[in-house]
Amino acid sequence: MDFHFTEEQKILQKTARDFLQSECPSSFVLEMEADEKGYTPDLWNKMAELGWMALIIPEEYEGVGGNLLDLVVMLEEMGRFCLPGPFFSTVLGCLGIMAAGTEEQLKNFLPKVGRGELIMSLALAEPGNRKYDPFLVAVEAGAKNNDFMINGTKLFVPDAHVADYLVCAARTSGRPGAREGITLFMVDSKTSGIRLTPMKTLAGDKQFEVDFQGVAVPGDHLLGPLNQGGVILEQVLQKGAVCKCAEMLGGAQKVLEMATGYAKEREQFGRPIGSFQAVQHHCSNMLMDIEGSRYITYKVAWMLEQGISCAKQVSAAKAWTSEAYKRVVGLGHQILGATGYIIEHDMPLYSRRAKIAELALGDAGFHREQVARELGL
């Protein structure tokens, strides 16, 4: 066993932290919540110059050739600074291409993603899917000559308004709920028949209702084989869940630092409140939750990277980290008191994002059911 980061990962962590410290202050995060676009091309381009979008792209496609653990290190920092914008959604799309793309698709898309020229997202959830169950796909794609025609509504599609391509999961056979019969499509977001409606959320992030009305997709824009999208989705969502855990971990760590920092400085009854056992125990509960989240996230990233089958551990990580982050922000608020309840304080940034992250890619209840299945129940 070895819990050390590699030297490269340490450098990556430091670079990301220093960069985001100066480029992504909380004032910027709040500004982007109000901004229609939700990110600035300026910051996006700087991130691309640092090679962030290319991090997990293989070198043969002009990428950095990093692994999932490298990405986890980076996303932890993004979570720490509540980085707004379409990085995460682009990662989801990129993971889809990397999992199932043809050589031509890999060549076409990955270098552009890596250079920051292509923003992507994943269109999966639909009305009637309350838990982000990947197989509850009802939106249909009918074959028409050599093309497909997509009809239906997708919900909670992150950053759809700025995405160049949407990876859209549509049903080409079978019934909603079935793993078989789902096909993934690379949909050019400028195709006619796509209509976007913003879904306003607690965190001011950018999620959309995406209506597909007779959207034509050429037959060579399938991602992976016909009807076999379910398997690809599983792979993408496993990695995506670990990525979300990393983001939550970074946020939770920052909340712990804010809370303990305050507990050491804030004096009442003539002494720092951090010397009171009630407050100390809140803080140690936060630390315990975070350490557990940290090592299960790293472990699962490592298992996925090693190709070890780990559906149970992935779901354990997402279920645990989602609830841990929720508890951590709850205790953070309790320690910061009224101060942390004020909109200008950083604390609400994290408590609002904790909720969004908890729901993304399957909440704790959804993932507990996955674990139950893996236990043979």
Partner: protein, 393 residues
Amino acid sequence: MDFGYTEEEEKFREKLSQFLDKELTEEIARQNWEDLGVGAEAREFSRKLAAYGFLGMSWPKEYGGHGFPPTYDFILLDELGKRWGAHVPLDVGYTMVGPTILRRGGEALKKEFLPRIINGEIEFCLGYTEPNAGSDLASMKMRAVDAGDHFVINGQKTFNTECHYSEYHWLAARTDADPDIPKYKGVSLFVVDMDSPGITIRPLWTMSGERTNEVYYEDVKVPKSRMVGEKNKGFYYMMEALGSERNQVFVPGRLVPILEDLIKYVKETEVDGKPLSNDPLIRDKLAQAAIELEVAGVLADHSRWLESNELPMPYQPEITKVFTSELDQRLVNTGMEILGLYSQLTEDSKWAPLRGRISWYFLHSFMTTIGAGTSEVGRSVIAQRGLSLPRAY
């Protein structure tokens, strides 16, 4: 990062598994798990473990060990745990006393005790807690007075488990009673023969049927050669050993058989023609237990890794301890809820499910967050050492 085991480690595990499947009987595991004492079979099992080379993997060769990293000892604990064996049969000597003698004991003590511990021949009982020194252990009053070539010890210990069958008492006593020095600066450690004249042992029976003891010392003479390390440094030795002790005592793998029993039970038990495992509430609870067990596993792996690499671990084993002991309680409560009406039945009842283990474990679980330091002390330690929050006492 690497969360895997090496090929050598896996080979060791394989060899060990075969041995345990054959040698670790239900009765031995049970004596061990339920602290019922160490009978003749368990002593024999302990000697066999040693004879097959499974004990002392991480101990230095010069005292009979094999000189490997502690990882191997952790594998032993995990494999025992999976089979309802809570720890190595003579565990106080093996996990607590031995390592401290190694670190701090003089050559004579090392030569006298270490090989016998590794060979699974002797057991020790811990002599720390006193009626008025529990969480505030440094305030212990048992007095050891210097009398030339020996100490004379007087006082009382309590909740000293294993004393009624151990050969030696691993005793902490006050060697400097100066009220002007901090209490922790006046404690020394001793190895005391349990059959020394002046020692009286009285049983204390716990609510889950284990025996622990009160131990009285009346003018007990202990040779100076049996003092461990330097005089008045005992409390430091106890504290520096704590992390490693926690790593070896709080083994998440021990909860695996309980979870497996419950999973089997809900799959095989039908209500209205449907297995209990179809019940969404039960699925959710068991999944949560399994998730927490995964988390406990990585927390323990991290603490163990720090120890194996001789890195500082000021609070990490405490996290493992608090988390695992509280998980114990949550898991057994889940089990009790699943067994429903039948959960109240004891082992000897005809209708008792799962051999009454869950109901016994329910009673036992009240101890897990108290023994070896309460969760409250643990959380204060985590806050102060892990987050540098100021002490208020």
